[in-house]
């Protein structure tokens, strides 16, 4: 075994420096110069103030905003320092009871017979920045009443914020909740 000592120490040491220090630092340097926005987390600023990241969901509870999906991050929802899903199994009593309560509340609000799945299920990360277009449309009634806007204006806002499948066929159509609410805020301000 002793003949393996020198190559072990030399190669482990030098490859650690190469792949564990030089490589990530070089990527960091190049990213900072060429792609500063993405490298720093796609932050969104309004009037010089960071209001969040375009990629990270945040909590909306007031009636005047579009709401994101339920979040299962522990302690508080949308905790962007501790991502997590609910990890409830498909036959979990906790899951069924939680969804039952949320579905009943949604039905009471909208009067619709069915509820979009993403509106009553928690995401894998607990930080999902998106909702489905159907979920956004189901919230129009509440926001129209709260803000005194016509449903048509809100529908148009949702249509403008809806992103189709990437490249036309990858993933699912979606609406970024933070961007939609920022557009909503601008609408209110103008």
């Amino acid at each position: 075994m002793i003949e393996h000592l020198r190559p072990t120490l030399v190669l482990l040491g030098s490859l650690t420096l190469l792949t564990g220090v030089a490589y990530p630092l070089a990527i960091t340097g190049v990213a900072r110069v060429l792609l500063p926005g993405a490298a720093n987390g796609s932050l969104v600023e309004v009037d010089g103030r960071i209001v969040g990241s375009r990629l990270i969901g945040q909590t909306f509870t007031e009636a005047k905003w579009f709401h994101g999906r339920p979040s299962a991050t522990s302690a508080t929802p949308y905790d962007a320092t501790a991502s997590s899903g609910s990890n409830l199994g498909p036959l979990s009593a906790k899951l069924v009871e939680r969804v039952r309560a949320d579905v009943d509340a949604a039905k009471t609000e909208t009067g619709a017979a069915s509820v979009p799945a993403d509106a009553v299920t928690t995401s894998a990360s607990g930080l999902d920045p998106h909702i489905s277009p159907a979920n956004a449309r189901s919230q129009v009634g509440r926001i129209a009443v709260t803000r005194g806007l016509t449903p048509e204006r809100l529908e148009a806002l949702i249509a403008a914020a809806t992103r189709g499948r990437d490249l036309g066929f990858l993933g699912e159509p979606r609406v970024n909740v933070l961007e939609l609410n920022l557009a909503l805020a601008r609408l209110g301000a103008s």
Binding site: H4, P7, V10, L11, L12, T16, L18, T19, G20, V21, P24, I27, T28, A31, A38, A39, N40, G41, V51, G52, S53, L55, I56, Q58, T59, W65, A80, T81, A82, S83, S84, G85, S86, L88, G89, P90, L91, A93, L95, V99, V103, S114, V115, P116, A117, T121, T122, S123, A124, S125, D128, P129, S132, A134, R165, D166, F169, L170, E172, A185
Partner: protein, 569 residues
């Protein structure tokens, strides 16, 4: 299931197929010690590193010498990683101010990353300093992958060489694989990832004031550089707790497709490397076909299971058209999530873009099945190839028994020694998985960690030990795995699953290398045709089925059959 769902799956699989020949040819050059496309860039580093390692260590090694060198390198890697994790509190590169990692967790994590498992009993953003992520975990992402690929090179040489007891040199192989394959690939991929939105910064976090006026702290870090090697090397350890479901690890459906390509590319391409090195590329395509058949079968079942939604929730008034969305991200939906789950467990990656624990019973069954079939369709980088070649050896033996002829594979006679070693390697998996699961199912201290009751709870345990032993690293993540019992037993399972398996396999390679290569005759069973492909598929399914069916019946199958009853747990 939708047309778009299938379209994106076929698109990524076509990309993987398109990369098989160029990537496979490149790796054959790397294994053969020839000049490659990257030689002008990394040639001088390679020569410098190997000179520093000592010329006397660089000669051809026997299988035993090679294996001992590999063990020494991995043992030292374990010690270094354990030390970095324990000491991160006093080391630099700790902007979060995290304390040192607790002993049991550090033990589990160090084994986990050295064995290419990347099981995570911790949440990355709440536990690991940037130094631990970069100089600790990222390094083993590279080196455990390079180790696996080096061992695959040995297995291939076992078939390719004739009458020699030398199988190559570990130091040369591991250095060349790192410099000519993993590092250049990761640099390119990491930069593409940043361009597509994945962060890469030394900041620990930023504070935002949300539209409702609340403070939201957003954890950040050098994510892209780790994400790239995590996938290319089929490692799977996430920077964040939610792994590739976290929008910073996987922000769009495009990054998602690229990630699935990255985690499949090398393992599929190695079949072509194998074909080239044994002098008959048809042999490689036959192995690739076996992999593709089983992968596709599992994909159809998983996508079908997830696309239909959860009947228990549909009954409450949830619209099932998006599929089963608990534990899934809107930007991926059920197709991309089921595809990722199957790809990550068909390889030894274990990275996830959706929570497997919340999949429908059959949707979660497919990842579990793929892990238990040995992660050989296509498997981890290197480990998948030598794993399926062991199965191919078993297959020609079974075929030989049927017709009463001495079995041969690629001109090498398969005899009692190789079969004993192959069965020894094969039995490590069920013995470790079922043994530990059975003990855990009887221990109150283990059962206290379960997040779900009923058959799902059993599946949670089975999945944990299968994932650890198979060096996968994905989880039914509700399990509270950071307890002394699970840290210790899962750590042991990871060790046995990697080294307990690899040592007999290296012995097979050494034994094959020493045999003369017989010329094929009219009586030789052809191992590149549909008959052989069908036989290998059957052997994989029968071996896996016989070992694990009773456990499957009590877990995911029982759970699936309970759906119509409406029973919850």
């Amino acid at each position: 299931m939708t047309v778009f769902g299938w379209l994106q799956i076929l698109f990524v699989l076509a990309l993987v197929l398109a990369s098989v020949v160029p990537l496979g040819r490149h790796m054959a050059r790397v294994f053969a010690g020839e000049r490659t496309f990257f030689s002008p860039a990394v040639g001088s580093i390679e020569r410098g590193l190997l000179a520093a390692a000592g010329r006397s260590s660089l000669g051809p090694q026997t299988w035993l010498g090679y294996t001992l060198a590999m063990m020494a390198f991995n043992a030292a890697g374990f010690v270094l990683l354990y030390a970095i994790l324990r000491l991160q509190g006093v080391l630099p590169g700790n902007p979060q101010g995290f304390a040192g990692v607790e002993p049991w967790l550090a033990f589990n994590t160090a084994i986990s990353f050295v064995t290419n498992t990347n099981w995570q009993a911790y949440g990355g953003e709440t536990t690991m300093s940037h130094l631990s992520q970069m100089a600790g975990l990222t390094v083993q992402n590279f080196l455990s992958a390079a180790t696996g690929m080096a061992l695959a090179a040995v297995m291939i040489r076992g078939f390719a060489s004739s009458g020699s007891d030398r199988v190559g040199n570990f130091w040369v192989d591991v250095t060349r694989v790192t410099l000519h394959v993993l590092l250049p690939g990761s640099i390119v991929l990491a930069l593409i990832f940043v361009a597509l939105g994945i962060p890469q910064t030394l900041l620990a976090s930023v504070d935002a004031t949300t539209l409702e006026g609340a403070k939201q702290t957003i954890a950040l870090g050098p994510v892209a550089s780790q994400e790239a090697i995590k996938l290319l090397g089929t490692n799977g350890g996430g920077f964040f707790n939610a792994n590739a479901a976290h929008p910073f690890e996987n922000p769009t459906a495009i990054t998602n497709a690229l990630e699935i390509w990255a985690l499949l590319a090398i393992s599929f391409a190695l079949t072509h490397t194998f074909g080239r090195m044994v002098g008959d590329t048809r042999q490689g395509w036959a192995i690739l076909t076996v992999m593709a058949i089983i992968l596709s079968g599992c994909l159809v079942v998983a996508y079908w299971a997830e696309a239909g939604g959860n009947p228990l929730l549909t009954a409450l008034g949830v619209d099932p058209s998006l599929g089963n969305m608990e534990g899934k991200e809107v930007r991926f939906g059920s197709a991309a999530s089921a595809f990722y789950a199957v790809a990550t467990t068909a390889t030894s990656t274990g990275s996830v873009d959706a929570m497997h624990e919340s999949f429908m019973p059959l949707g979660g069954f497919m990842p579990l099945l793929l892990i238990k079939l040995g992660e050989i369709v296509p498997g981890g980088v290197g480990s998948g190839l030598f794993g399926i070649l062991v199965i191919a050896v078993v297959t020609v033996f079974v075929a030989g028994l049927m017709v009463g002829r001495t079995p041969e594979y690629l001109g090498k006679k398969i005899e009692a020694r190789e079969m004993k070693l192959a069965m020894l390697a094969q039995l490590i998996l069920p013995a470790t998985i079922l043994g530990f699961t059975a003990v855990a199912a009887l221990l109150p201290t283990a059962l206290a960690s379960l997040a779900n009751a009923g058959p799902h709870g059993l599946t949670e345990l089975l999945y944990a030990y299968a994932s650890a032993t198979g060096n996968n690293g994905s989880a039914f993540a509700g399990l509270s795995a950071d307890t002394p019992w699970f840290d210790a037993t899962l750590g042991i399972a990871m060790f046995l699953g990697r080294f307990g398996y690899v040592v007999p396999v290296m012995a097979i390679a050494g034994s094959l290398a020493a045999k003369p290569r017989a010329v094929a005759s009219a009586g030789t069973f052809p191992t590149h045709g549909p008959l052989f492909v069908g036989l290998v598929v059957a052997v994989i399914l029968i071996l896996g089925g016989l070992q694990f069916f009773p456990a499957f019946a009590l877990g995911p199958i029982a759970e699936h059959l309970l759906i119509p009853t409406g029973r919850t747990f």
